[in-house]
C-alpha cells in the first residue's frame, strides 16, 4: 500500500492521465483501473475520486456524457481540449518531480 499522504496531490494527475490513455471512463472503472495498474498498491476510494472528478468538470478539464445501463444512469468522463494539454503539463511536471526526488533521495556515490 502506498501511504495516503504521498498520494495527496497526485490523485488529480492520475485521474487525468487515465482519461487521456483510455478515452472515456466511468467512476467505478477508474478505481478498478488504478488498482489494476498499481497491482493493488493504490486503493482509490470513491470518497476521494468523486470530489476530484466534479472539481475537474467544474474547471472545464473534463466533460460527461450519460448512458443508460438498464434503469440506471452511467456517467462517462472524457478530457476536453484544455484538459488534454493540461494533463500533459501535469504529467511532465510529475516526472520532473520524481526525477528530482530521485536525485535528492538517492545520491549517486561520488
Amino acid at each position: 500500500m502506498i501511504a495516503n499522504d504521498l498520494l495527496k496531490g497526485t490523485l488529480r494527475t492520475i485521474v487525468l492521465k487515465l482519461l487521456a490513455d483510455n478515452g472515456r471512463m466511468y467512476g467505478y472503472e477508474i478505481t478498478k483501473k488504478v488498482e489494476e495498474l498499481s497491482t493493488g498498491k493504490i486503493k482509490l476510494t470513491f470518497g476521494a475520486l468523486y470530489p476530484v472528478l466534479h472539481k475537474l468538470e467544474a474547471d472545464g478539464h473534463i466533460t460527461t456524457e450519460t448512458e443508460y445501463i438498464g434503469k440506471r444512469v452511467r456517467k462517462y468522463y472524457t478530457l476536453t481540449e484544455t484538459g488534454r494539454s493540461w494533463t500533459e503539463q501535469r504529467v511532465d511536471e510529475f516526472f520532473d518531480f520524481v526525477t528530482t526526488l530521485t536525485y535528492v533521495l538517492k545520491p549517486t556515490p561520488a
Binding site: 467505478y28 470530489p51 466534479h54 472539481k55 467544474a58 445501463i69 438498464g70 456517467k75
Partner: protein, 406 residues
Amino acid sequence: MIAAAIDDNYGRIKVDLISRGLTCDRLIDDLLDHVCCMVEEDMNAGSDFDSSYDRVLESIGEKQLYEIQHQTLLLLDKKFQRMKNFTYLFGLSSALIAIVGAFFKKMHWPGAGILITVGIALVVLVFLPLYFIVNYREQTEKKNPIYAIVGYLTMALLLAAALFKIQHWPGAGHMIEIGLGFLIIGFIPLYVVNVFQRGGKEKISLPYVAMLLVGISIVMLFTNVNMSKYLLDTYMKESVSNEARVEATRERTAHLMEMFRDSAHADNLQTVTLIHEKARSLQIMIAEMQEGMIAHIKQPGVSIEQVRRIDNRGAGREAIVDTGSGGEFAQAAIGYREMLEEMINDPVTLSQIEDHLEFTGKVWPHEYGARDVANGPLMKNYYKLTDASKGIALSEYVTISYLLHH
C-alpha cells in the same frame, strides 16, 4: 441475471443512498452507478443480491456518502474556496505585521506600537473569525458551533491580552486570566473530546497543537518580562537603605531642634517647626501612597520586604495616579522647596536643597512622570517614593542646620 437483479432493486438502492444524506443530483447518478457496480462484482463471486448488497452497504458506512457530497460541494463552491485562500493569506500577512512590529519594538525603532496593534487587531478581528468559520463549514460530523466559538474566544482573548500587555493598556492582567481560564476549562477539554469523537479518523493535527503551545508560551513570556528579578531586588535593597537613612536623618534633625530651643535663635523656632511639620506631612503622604500600593495587591499592612507581588503593575496606577495623591504630593513638594529656598541666601546650601529635592524639578517628571508611575512595577514606584522621602528628610536637616548657624 445479475443485471436484472440489480435493476429490480434499483428503486430500493436509490432510496437507501438518499436516506444516507445524498441530496445532490449530479452525485446521486455517480454513486448509484458505483454502488451497483460494487454489488455486481460481489455477485459475480456467486452471492445473491441481498447478501452482496448488505456487504457493500456495510463497507460504505453511514456517514461516508454525506461526507463525499459535503467535500464535493465545498470544492465546487468558488466563493468558499476564495474565502479559504483569503483567510490563510490574510492570517499570514497579519501575523507578519505583528512579528515585524515585535522586531521593531526590540530594536526600539519608531512605529512598533502601531505595527503590533494593527497586526494583532487584524488577527483577532478578521483572521480568527474567518478561520473558525472556514473550519466549521468544512466539518461534516459532530458539527458543533460551541467548539468554534470557544476556540475563537480563547485565541482572541489571549492575543488581545498580549497586545494590551505590550502597550501597557489597563486590563491586560484580567484578560490573561480569563483567556487562560477559557483555554484550560473550555478549549482544551472540548478539543480532546472532539478528537476522541472522531474516533482517531483524523490524527490530532500537530500544527494546531503546536500553534496552541506557541500561543501559550508567548503569553507566559509577556507575563514574565515585567522586570528582571535582579532589578527588582536592587530596588528593594535601595529602598530599605533609603528608609534607614530617613530614620537616621530624622534623629539628627530632632537633635538639631533640641539645640534650637536652647540657642539664641529661639525666635526662629516657629519657622523651624513649620518646616518640620511640612516635611512630616509630605512623608505621611508618601507613606500613604506606599500603603495604598500594598493594599491594592491585597496585602494591606505588610512591610515591603514581605510583599509577594512586587512586580505588580496596577498598584502604582491605582494608588498614586488614579487617586490623584501623586499629583497632590508633587504640588505640595514644590511648595515645600519654594518655602525652603526663600529662607536661604547661601548658594551652596541652595544647591544642596535643589539636589535633595530633585524630584520636584522640571526634568524629573519627564523622566519619571505619571505615565511611568502608572506603567511601572510596584517595587520601582516604592523605591522612587523612598528616594523622595530621603530627599525631604535631608533638605529639612540642611535647612534647619543652616538656620541654626546664621
